[in-house]
């Protein structure tokens, strides 16, 4: 029912790495993202999660983000007063509580600053981390860090850093193959698509902006084995039989108001809908939703070439879904990384430990948002009317 169509360049990429375990999201999966800033910030934008939630709406999935700025495979950023080992322990504890069934781990961006010299240490550290991940019983996917972007001076040129990132990507892939884990080549996928992407994607060369995340999300999803091919509907008049790439569509029914199509998408993924209608009489046309709301004003010529309807047009509830995801992420952030940890759980808990009960009170609030997400993730039927 779900058609997988991969762009050409991605297909070749996947063929090239055929030894990699297939990536799969299973019904009931508790997915945990782990990594550094790249993962951490994705929770405040929510694009990837929205994409996965909607594209895989037939499955019950929940996502938790344990990303932490500056983190390494050793848990550097997760330690407070102790050595990095304390951070590693904290991560172990968090995973213990979350009981993930699928871990998506993205490390290497920080280590890459060390270059080749730092590689053996990184590999050794990652092995230890992966042993710990494996002990949770979860399936594991290793994601390579994304590429860095050259922004104008005085920001640094990132060519050398990208070369280092490629080296780390290769090392991560090797680890994944050796352990029969899934591997998502974020670096490779984005480098291939680099010139087609809307730059700047990043704030500073290494950290993606909100728009940057939006732009790369289809590539991230694809790298994770989830199709992010935009849906398309094409109609060659005078035929009344439209062709549709995803979902089902009714016969075109011309009437006095115009031509109406009823599309039942297979999923609500936030991807543009490509609408192509040929054989129209020359002139200006409007596209309406539900017969009343104008989505676009266009021409027969443009329609013949195909126009794009943004997700907000064809799946308007996705904005609400994304808000629920962001709210859930924020609540979960307060749940797993609360402020004042020193007083709530740390060595000053004798002073505020009584307030630690508040932290578990975030659980029902998170569950509330999860329920909302579950309600909102399904596609809605779209009635499109083409009017002259």
């Amino acid at each position: 029912m779900f058609v997988r169509l991969l762009p050409f360049f991605l297909l070749t990429q996947l063929t090239a790495t055929a030894a990699i375990s297939p990536l799969e999201f299973k019904d009931g999966d508790r997915v945990v993202f782990i990594g550094n800033t790249f993962i951490e910030r994705s929770q405040s934008y929510g694009h990837l999660e929205t994409m996965l939630t909607t594209a895989l709406a037939d499955r019950d999935l929940s996502f938790r983000n344990l990303g932490w700025s500056g983190d390494t495979v050793f848990g550097d950023a997760r330690s407070y007063f102790g050595p990095p080992a304390e951070g590693f322990e904290r991560l172990t504890k968090h995973l213990d509580e979350l009981k993930p069934t699928l871990i998506i781990s993205c490390y290497g961006a920080v280590a890459a600053f060390e270059g080749e010299a730092g590689l053996p240490n990184f590999e050794k550290g990652y092995e230890t981390l992966l042993d710990m991940f494996a002990s949770t019983g979860a399936r594991i996917v290793l994601m390579s860090p994304p590429p860095a972007e050259n922004l104008p001076s005085p920001l640094p040129n990132q060519e050398a850093h990208n070369e280092r990132l490629a080296v780390y990507r290769d090392a991560i892939r090797k680890l994944a193959v050796a352990r029969d884990y899934g591997f998502a080549d974020t670096y490779g996928a984005l480098r291939k698509a680099w010139d087609q992407l809307p730059h700047p994607l990043t704030e500073n060369g290494i950290h993606y902006t909100e728009e940057g995340y939006a732009a790369i999300t289809p590539f991230l999803a694809t790298a994770l084995g989830v199709s992010a091919e935009p849906p398309s509907i094409s109609l060659a008049l005078p035929s009344s039989e439209p062709k549709v790439s995803q979902g089902t569509v009714s016969k075109a029914s011309p009437n006095d108001k115009g031509i109406t199509l009823e599309w039942q998408p297979s999923h609500a993924a936030p991807l543009p809908l490509n609408l192509q209608i040929t054989g129209l009489a020359e002139g200006n046309y409007a596209i309406l939703r539900g017969g009343t709301q104008t989505l676009a004003k266009t021409t027969a010529t443009d329609l013949a070439a195909g126009i794009e309807l943004v997700p907000a047009n064809h799946q308007p509830h996705i904005a609400t879904l994304r808000r629920a995801i962001l709210r859930k992420n924020k609540l979960f952030f307060h749940r797993w990384r609360p402020q004042n940890e020193t007083y709530l759980f740390g060595f000053r808990k004798h002073e505020q430990g009584n307030n630690a009960v508040e932290i578990s009170q975030f659980e029902p609030l998170i569950a509330e948002q999860e329920a909302k997400i579950s309600d909102l993730k399904h596609p809605i039927e779209l009635t499109l009317t083409l009017k002259r």
């Binding site: 700025s69 402020q339 004042n340 609030l365």
Partner: protein
């Protein structure tokens, strides 16, 4: 005299019956001041010539955390109502406000909410056409692009800042003269920030610098507890204040490290040790203020509800700070000045966080007394002086902005540079070039104007090399120093940085040399290191020494291998010793051991070499030390023996070869030598000498000090000494001290036998003694010690005094000693200490303190020897350092907090005063405060102020214990009325009135003479100079002045000699710039004085003497019969026509 144990139970039970449960709420309400701004305003006392008005208040604003002015003369306020902790379900709703006084009447009339939806934002800096905002884990740059006054664009500049404690998170945003953003973080925060240049980590406190356009992030300095103040002076030097560590204003330079820097071997001090803790910092500048105020600094004592003022003057490479009369003070308990800024109209603005509760962790996050709604900005103006007009910076041409760099107002110059920065290099450069060319070389402001231009370029991210060279050659050293700072950041942009810096190292002014050392450290090459070390060719001071020391350590991997490969050589011994000492690397020890070989007496250099050998030396090095121990005399000999013992105790190392000649030292005439040698024999297990130790231990003619050491030495032999030690422990003809010592030595060898002997002995004792204390300590340091002793105590009875002493020790050892606590309580028939009061009992107690407590009697109780308060706590810098300084306790802490801290210290522990428990691989357990931890060793200071060094590879486990260093039950020996007075005294500390430490430089730490039998009598009865020569520190014991700063004459031990009641005492003074130094006394009749060994005359109550740089001992001998006053007061004063800079040595 024994005192009845305090029992709070009966009285509180009475209260429980007498008062309804509402009382608690009433007690709380009573503590809440009236928040009406007019009432607060009326309570303010302002310095002569100034007046205060309310600029803005709630409901227009609430809870200001930081304030900063923008280029349009508007006040930006970052405000948090969520602090201290978001509630489940609560939306992050904190705001950035812009407040304006549009009609110029000195009262705000317009408010714009620039941003909301923030989570405990703690810093805001309007700059670069928007504002940098600290938003918990991130720094965001927010802009209003459509001109509606609200931010509509947000960019994450940095992320990864820790939030382990919301009163420590990233704060105090300041715009530097160099165009960078400076940001502070506090002690509990651990930040991990990715930048396009790499990852920056700052674990614990420090000040960051950040260049937004390149995203380069770096650390200016490390350490501090709560660095809630940072500012730049006119010449770009940084100063900081701390809200939890009271050393006043701190001079901060690149690479400097202050208190609580993790792993730091060495830290710098603030300029005014013993000051209250402070928040915010501003330099007074501008034409609105009276001339004599300009250049001084303001900071806030938010506990004491005061705005403090300091005058700084240069002192070598650092500064001296003199506290001046406060600008503003009040008794209003809600006034919490946390920010101070110079405003666009030249007035002083104080941000008042307004809150009766300021504790973070110590008071419940959800305590209803925490204020979430109020907040004020106060405006202070000089009477009869017109406010200034704020120039139109927004609309000005670059030429006009450049002219504004002449303005005396720091704020104007800052925003002029900021605005030029925003216009960009391309547009600005030709105009700045032309302006620099037009500057009159005769202009007295010339150096400063050129520096401003250099900073303008720096703000534009451009190094203008010709101008830099010009400023490097300025006649004003402050300009030269600032120019070097540019090279600190940008040395790689100039090919000849190294040679410019090597020239600067020979600068006549130490401040320039300090900057040059720091910049050379940044370059980091071996050449740079070589140049830096030549700083030693010139006079050094603490800051220079620190900077060079840090340089040697940071660059060790660069120069040490080169030195070892003979690719690099030091030109002289001074440099060689300095560098090798700095790095403490065993590989570098040999040349130092050679130097030791030729040493004939102990000096600082030899002393530190010995310390290094103790920590790092191998058997060969110890062999050299042994030779020194045998072949030298005096302090060098004792230090050598101590070194041998330390190496053996910490690392089980001893010299090579036949060591039996140690026996020679047993016949030495000096008690200390014999005593140390006894222990050395034990450490080395010299079999043939065991019997010598036994006979010393048993000998009736052996003095106690030597006998103690002999017994210790025996114990070190282990199992084989057991029989002999048991014989001694059971020998009823021996003194109980020796028998206890023997028992202490048995404990680590055979715990069961040891505890059995211990109980038998303890049972027979009635008085506490140092030996009994040591017995507790040793038992507690053994893993199963508490359990074994508890078992041995079953069904045995101890005297209450004995059991009580043990209880105090056991209480401070944490949970593992609970079993012993129970056993002691039972054996000693003691009530349990550390009582939990119910809320109503607490309320009743507070009422009683308020109604009946007498703070004067409380101070007397505080000073009583048996309570030992001053052993651990300082008051205004004088006193022990184990606990927090009590200087403003009353002004900051609610009374329930004080009472609870006295009764159950473990419940509330101030940050930085937690105990750490260390489990060693050989099953020892030690608790104390970590004074130093690096990759090699860990030094713990225990509650008795004893330091223990543990080799890092011996540490099995280390944990921060939620236990205070303060033993519970210290006040158990007080009667209820005494307890009430003590609490009243503590609750008055820092409040306006007689229990506020005055800002004068009064001698607060004294040494008085403990007259014991061992002190020889002066040959002639009138020879008082004799006391000035008594340098055996064991007999000089500390004494501290009262809060008011006087020493009661009755507190000075005295002895009747002939016609006199001789009371000798002394204090120390540290001179940093030589010259005539003066001390003024409240009376000098019946007083003689010596500086060192030289008697000085006292005229007009003043001691005046020319003093060289260094620490000087001033000895006084009072004749208690002739001295006319009941108390002695001594104050360091400035003498006219003297350039001398000096400070009183404080501490414990």
């Amino acid at each position: 005299m024994k005192r009845p144990l305090l029992s709070l139970a009966p009285l509180s039970a009475l209260c429980l019956a007498a008062f309804p449960s509402l009382l608690l709420a009433q007690r709380d309400l009573k503590n809440i001041p009236d928040p009406t701004p007019e009432i607060q305003l009326a309570s303010f006392q302002v310095a002569e010539g100034f007046e205060v008005n309310l600029f803005t208040s709630d409901p227009m604003i609430a809870k200001p955390v930081q304030i900063n002015w923008d280029s349009r003369g508007r006040l930006w306020i970052v405000s948090s109502k969520i602090y201290p902790q978001i509630k489940p379900g609560q939306e992050a709703q904190d705001e950035i406000l812009i407040i304006e006084d549009t009609d110029g009447d000195g009262i705000a009339d317009k408010k714009t909410v620039f941003a909301d939806g923030l989570l405990i934002p703690t810093g805001v800096l309007p700059a670069d056409g928007g504002a940098y905002v600290a938003n918990s884990t991130e720094v965001v740059f927010m802009q209003d692009t459509d001109g509606d006054g609200r931010a509509d664009k947000k960019e994450i500049m940095l992320s990864g800042f820790g939030t382990e404690d919301t009163h420590h998170i990233l704060h105090t945003f300041r715009g530097g003269p160099d165009g960078m953003v400076y940001m502070n973080q506090s002690i509990y925060i651990h930040s991990h920030v990715e930048t396009p240049w790499g990852v920056e980590r700052l674990l614990a406190g420090g000040i960051w610098h950040f260049r937004p356009e390149t995203r380069e992030l770096g650390v200016l300095c490390n350490g501090f507890v709560n660095t809630w103040g940072h500012t730049f002076d006119r010449w770009g030097q940084s100063f900081a204040t701390d809200g939890a560590y009271g050393e006043g204003v701190n001079y901060v330079f690149p690479g400097s490290a202050f208190v609580a820097t993790p792993g730091a071997k060495r830290m710098l001090k603030g300029l005014s040790p013993g000051q209250p803790k402070q928040c915010g910092l501003a330099v007074l500048s501008g034409r609105h203020l009276p001339e004599e105020w300009r250049g001084q600094m303001l900071t806030n004592d938010f506990r004491g509800h005061r705005v403090n003022r300091f005058a700084l003057s240069e002192d070598g490479s650092s500064y001296q700070a003199r506290q001046q009369e406060d600008l503003l003070w009040t008794k209003h308990g809600g006034f919490r000045p946390i920010g101070v800024e110079m405003g666009p109209d030249g007035a002083i603005y104080i941000a008042d966080w307004y809150n009766p509760i300021i504790q973070h962790g110590e008071v419940d996050f959800r305590d209803e007394r925490r204020d979430q709604t109020h907040g004020r900005i106060w405006r202070i103006t000089a009477k009869d002086r017109a406010p200034l007009a704020w120039p139109d910076i927004e609309g000005s041409s670059i030429e006009a902005l450049l002219e504004l760099l002449r303005a005396p107002e720091d704020l104007t110059r800052h925003h002029a540079k900021q605005k030029i920065r925003q216009r960009g290099l391309e547009e600005a450069k030709p105009k700045v070039d032309a302006w620099v060319a037009s500057l009159d070389s005769q202009d007295p402001l010339r150096d400063h104007l050129r520096l401003e231009a250099l900073w303008t370029y720096q703000s534009l991210n451009f190094l203008e090399a010709p101008l830099l060279r010009m400023v490097l050659a300025a006649s004003d050293h402050r300009a030269r120093a600032a120019a070097i700072r540019v090279l600190y950041h940008w040395h790689s942009r100039l090919p000849d940085s190294l040679s410019l810096l090597s020239t600067a190292l020979n600068d006549p002014h130490p401040q320039v040399r300090l900057e040059a050392i720091n910049a050379l450290r940044q370059i980091g090459s071996i050449e740079a290191f070589g140049f830096a070390m030549s700083a030693l060719d010139h006079p050094m001071d603490e800051q220079l020494d620190f900077a060079l020391w840090r340089t040697a350590r940071e660059l060790e991997k660069t120069w040490l291998p080169a030195l070892q490969a003979s690719d690099f050589q030091f030109p002289n011994n001074t440099q060689r010793v300095f560098a090798l000492r700095a790095i403490e690397n065993p590989e570098a020890l040999k040349p130092l051991v050679d130097l030791l070989g030729s040493a004939e007496e102990l000096d600082d250099e030899v002393d530190s070499i010995l310390k290094l050998i103790a920590d790092l030396g191998d058997a060969d090095d110890l062999t050299s030390v042994f030779a020194k121990a045998l072949g030298s005399s005096g302090p060098l000999q004792t230090r050598s023996l101590e070194t041998l013992n330390a190496a053996s105790a910490q690392r089980q190392l001893k010299p090579r070869g036949d060591l039996s000649s140690i026996a020679n030292l047993l016949d030495n005439e000096r008690e200390s030598v014999v005593s140390l040698a006894c222990q050395t024999i034990g450490h080395w297990k010299e079999q043939d000498l065991f019997s010598r130790l036994t006979s010393l231990a048993e000998g009736a003619e052996t003095n106690e000090v030597i006998a103690t050491s002999a017994i210790k030495g025996m114990g070190l032999f282990g199992n084989q000494s057991l029989t002999a030690l048991e014989d001694l422990a059971q020998n009823e003809t021996q003194s109980s001290a020796r028998r206890l010592r023997a028992t202490i030595s048995i404990l680590p060898i055979d715990l069961q036998k040891g505890t059995r002997h211990a109980v038998s002995l303890l049972e027979s004792l009635r008085e506490d003694s140092p030996e009994v204390q040591d017995l507790w300590t040793t038992t507690l340091s053994i893993k199963d010690g508490p359990k074994a002793l508890a078992t041995a105590l079953q069904d045995r009875t101890l005297a209450r005094t004995i059991a009580y002493g043990g209880l105090q020790k056991a209480n401070s050892a944490g949970k593992r000693a609970d079993i012993l606590t129970k056993a002691l309580t039972k054996s000693g028939n003691l009530d349990s200490v550390g009582q939990d009061l119910t809320e109503s009992q607490m309320a009743a107690l507070i009422q009683e303190v308020n109604e009946q407590g007498d703070p004067h009697r409380g101070e007397f109780i505080y000073r009583r020897a048996d309570l030992q308060c001053a052993v651990c706590h300082a008051l205004g810098g004088a006193g022990g350092k184990l606990g927090p300084d009590m200087i403003s306790l009353g002004a900051s802490a609610p009374m329930d907090y004080i009472i609870e801290s006295l009764l159950a210290p473990n419940k509330k522990v101030k940050e930085g005063y937690h105990m750490t428990t260390v489990y060693t691989k050989d099953d020892r357990v030690l608790s104390g405060f970590v004074t130093l931890e690096d990759d090699r060793q860990l030094i713990l200071r225990d509650a008795a102020n004893q330091k223990t060094t543990i080799a890092k590879d011996q540490v099995a486990k280390k944990e921060i214990a939620s236990v205070s260093m303060m033993p519970p039950g210290l006040t158990t020996g007080l009667r209820r009325d005494e307890f009430i007075h003590l609490v009243r005294f503590l609750s008055e500390l820092g409040k306006e009135g007689p229990f506020k430490v005055p800002p004068r430089r009064l001698v607060r730490r004294w040494r008085v003479l403990n007259f014991t039998e061992t002190i020889a009598e002066p040959v002639s009865k009138g020879d008082q100079r004799f006391y000035a020569l008594q340098d055996d520190i064991k007999e000089w014991i500390p004494a501290y002045s009262t809060v008011r700063g006087v020493l009661p004459v009755n507190d000075i031990p005295s002895k009747k000699r002939w016609l006199y009641l001789v009371a000798p005492l002394r204090f120390e003074i540290e001179v940093t710039t030589p010259g005539e130094v003066g001390i003024q006394f409240n009376a000098t009749e019946g007083m003689r004085a010596w500086v060192g060994e030289k008697e000085v005359s006292l005229e007009n109550f003043v001691l005046q003497a020319p003093l060289e740089t260094g620490t000087h001992m001033i000895t006084l001998v009072l004749d208690g019969n002739a001295f006319p006053k009941p108390t002695l007061e001594a104050e360091l004063i400035d003498l006219p026509d003297s350039n001398a800079a000096a400070q009183l040595v404080s501490g414990s």
